[in-house]
Symmetry: C2
Subunit: 564 residues, 2 copies
Amino acid sequence: MDKQNKILIIGGTACGSKAAARARRLDPLAQITLIEERRQITTASCGLPYYVSGVVKNRSDLITRGNVYFKDVLDVRVITQTRAVGIDRTAHKVTMLNLEDGNHSNLQYDKLVLATGSVPTAPDLDGKKLVGVFTLTSIRDATAILDMVTQNKPRKATVIGAGPIGLEMVEAFASLGMDVTLIEALDCVLSTLIDPEVAALIQKLLRNKGVRLLLRQCVMGLEGAKNGAVQRVVTSEGAVDTDLVLLATGIKPNIDLARDAGIEIGARGGILVDSYLKTNDENTYAGGDCVENVDLITGQRILSPMGSTANKHGRVIGTNVTGGHETFPGVLGTTIVKVFDYNVARVGLTEWQAREAGYEVVSCIVPDYEHARYYPDGKTIVVKLVAESATGKVLGGQVVGKGEVAKRIDVLATALSFGASIADIANLDLAYAPPYNSAMDPLHVAAHVIDNKESGYARSLTPTAVKNKLDNDEDFILMDVRSPDEWKSSRIHTRVTKLIPLMELRSKLSSISREAEIVIYCTTGLRAYQAQRMLESAGFNKVTFMEGSLEAWPHEISTSKTED
Amino acid sequence: MDKQNKILIIGGTACGSKAAARARRLDPLAQITLIEERRQITTASCGLPYYVSGVVKNRSDLITRGNVYFKDVLDVRVITQTRAVGIDRTAHKVTMLNLEDGNHSNLQYDKLVLATGSVPTAPDLDGKKLVGVFTLTSIRDATAILDMVTQNKPRKATVIGAGPIGLEMVEAFASLGMDVTLIEALDCVLSTLIDPEVAALIQKLLRNKGVRLLLRQCVMGLEGAKNGAVQRVVTSEGAVDTDLVLLATGIKPNIDLARDAGIEIGARGGILVDSYLKTNDENTYAGGDCVENVDLITGQRILSPMGSTANKHGRVIGTNVTGGHETFPGVLGTTIVKVFDYNVARVGLTEWQAREAGYEVVSCIVPDYEHARYYPDGKTIVVKLVAESATGKVLGGQVVGKGEVAKRIDVLATALSFGASIADIANLDLAYAPPYNSAMDPLHVAAHVIDNKESGYARSLTPTAVKNKLDNDEDFILMDVRSPDEWKSSRIHTRVTKLIPLMELRSKLSSISREAEIVIYCTTGLRAYQAQRMLESAGFNKVTFMEGSLEAWPHEISTSKTED
């Protein structure tokens, strides 16, 4: 380019700073300016919960590159503590407000990049301004929480909102020794991300970790002491005493600047961009948390505010504002969150979302070992796969547990990018050696279960369905086909539970009533499915197995400790 | 089916036992018979090195299901210690030899399954029968090694062959306290699986672990003491004193029975099967180590003996011998092996294999953190990606290091299954949270590097090319752009190495000769690439960076300990 390209980027976290760095590497002569409201660019927001918990020791660790690097190495003009307050699209001019001295000034641009991120959607609660009430979107927020923890030594923390940040902060507060209450207005934790039966496993974990979990409770207000410190959270069901409150009810795109300038906003509240991440303005691009993304499964536009996506956006935008033609295809809503010693991950559509979207759905719940059973220290994971019944197309997946979860969700994310079917998953040539996997990966097994269900071989009930039958006091046999030793150490203790070990089942067929409805369980569902096939072969025709069996059973079980 | 289907399966390890179990679940009435030479079916051969090392404590852990389960639960007739010695395809009859009593007998079949596995390709060496010389394909072999270790307390072990089993056994012997020598006839370890520059990193690791590594040495013979115990391995270059020898020179399909019956054998020495895993005989299927597989990248038939593939074969065969029509698409040669604290994995074609197959290739070497840098206990991995230059189609990948490797290779394996391009990899929506990943996965970064190379922005030399320049005493500047502290703790110490920290580079441009050839390195190549772009922008035109930089440098570096 003959003329020096003036690139103005608003927002210096993930997308904005990545766009600046990429633009510099492609166009050495461009004049690149980055405006940021805070003191620092390139802060790693996703690390904030770990800074609060003390897992990340130094505040400076959360600054990826920093202002000086952008100035000295990338020759980017970095203007911090400055807010863009207006865009004149005709004159190609942005008005800025210096937050330190209150002065306004203008900057010209040839290409404008909106990377304004998100803002918390904290509800307008009475008491929101009380001392000890926080949100968590910046290092300043994290430092304020840490200061409060150090000075006041709060004993009780309340987290409002059971999304990923809420759950990460529950763990952070618990690790700091506080009694933690988690309040969620909806039916389950992570309700927009995973299905209730999977969420139930996380809820069981939280309760086991001593977290007080209040589901289906709306927060009505916060009450404080005379000194202005928060003291109580009032909910639709009662009240919770507390010394500290974290509002983690979500975030929304920060789009006021864009909207005021006539940049088109989508139905979900984010800036509308095309596949080049260009807005309706020829010279304005947008990326990161402030835009809507295309859902690669449904083709619909969705909000999917993730640091990973923001970085990818930044690279594409950096290319395109320097004359390139890169596209960004969309997202799968891939999410992973650490909840104590559980790894919780999801991708694509949940079963509920898939049904809402009009799909005829088949799903499965499959617990399995993370690697070869005989290799030591193996931990369990639970896989839920969701597929379209007619085509076998995989629509989504959820994987949770103490074992290796990230690998399986990333494999699913990759498969979903290419429209994989259940048969594709079953035949993936995944890496196998005993320390890493079983000969059959849990995803293979899950694909087989769906195949078996679709072929009519596997006939199953979910744990929820079985629980309902028990709660309704229905007449059926809940057949435990594990070994007597396993039975002794733990079981679903009901009046209809009956032990017939799989190894003895064939020889005991004649002792079982052919009239009775039989639901079989074992540890993971594998032996129960085998038993179902055996019983059906012998002419029993009211037999199902419980999917996921004990490993997916979110309710209490009797253990040898709890019985005589 | 009206008539009882007689299914006869020869071989009861992975493929055979899986086929039997699947067939039973689909056809309750079939008469299923499994013939096995050894005492036990369903032995987990892949666990043998870990049984020898003591990581797996109990021999019984290596029996997945066992004979009784197949008999009592699956109603499969299991005939052990019996070898199939002839197939009469016209009469649908197999002749068996009882290895205990030497008697012959016949069995009829409607469907025959050949799951005869593999046999070691141990060379016909003098001294092969000496005491203390082993192969490792069965629990009996592993027990023999363990007995010898317990009784004779050997101090020196020699492993011949540096494939996956060889490397696993090097670790096993080292963990038992022995001095280990590894002898390999070819240029590098894992030579058919990874490229030499990646192998060099494993070789560095092995030497650091105290393993004596003898590459490019052929074993000429084994010499023993008067008592018949092995004492010395004679190679093309000298001799190695030893108390124990493991021959791990590979395996080949066990196909004599099939070939003698007129079953078609492929050019690579395995049984030829179609996508239904059916042989040239209408009623005979084959799977597992004894067959050839289709390479999903090249479409060529290859040998790829893996327990994971054998299990998948078994399921497909179990379906098809009971009237189903399942297909198996092929393999990618996905392999993973633990070598001490390194995870080593590969998929698809190596760069060398890709060039041999006629592809125009672009590749990269990218070291990166396994997860967010600021999250504690992060370890490094090195990614090598291989792609077709014209189309950007990914052809293969190699990932090694102490960090999380299995996830990345499984993502690549999944992507390769769908013919992914470099652009596809760059935009994969992989799961991100600080404990699991960086916002950009190492695979994203690797895809970007290839994109930058193809676009002409990134211009690089491999570590091998830089080493050659140094060895040839060429005149150039080897520019280290890390910080002075990093420089102090370690560096490539040569007469041409020069420190100019990236943060100071822009201000020092005038002090650098524009005539000189400059090769830049840092820790991973990231800062070096940035420096290359900066120098080029400033008019320098003989600048490259060293790919992978210090993390991919397999040669010695000077550390603060080694210098004054």
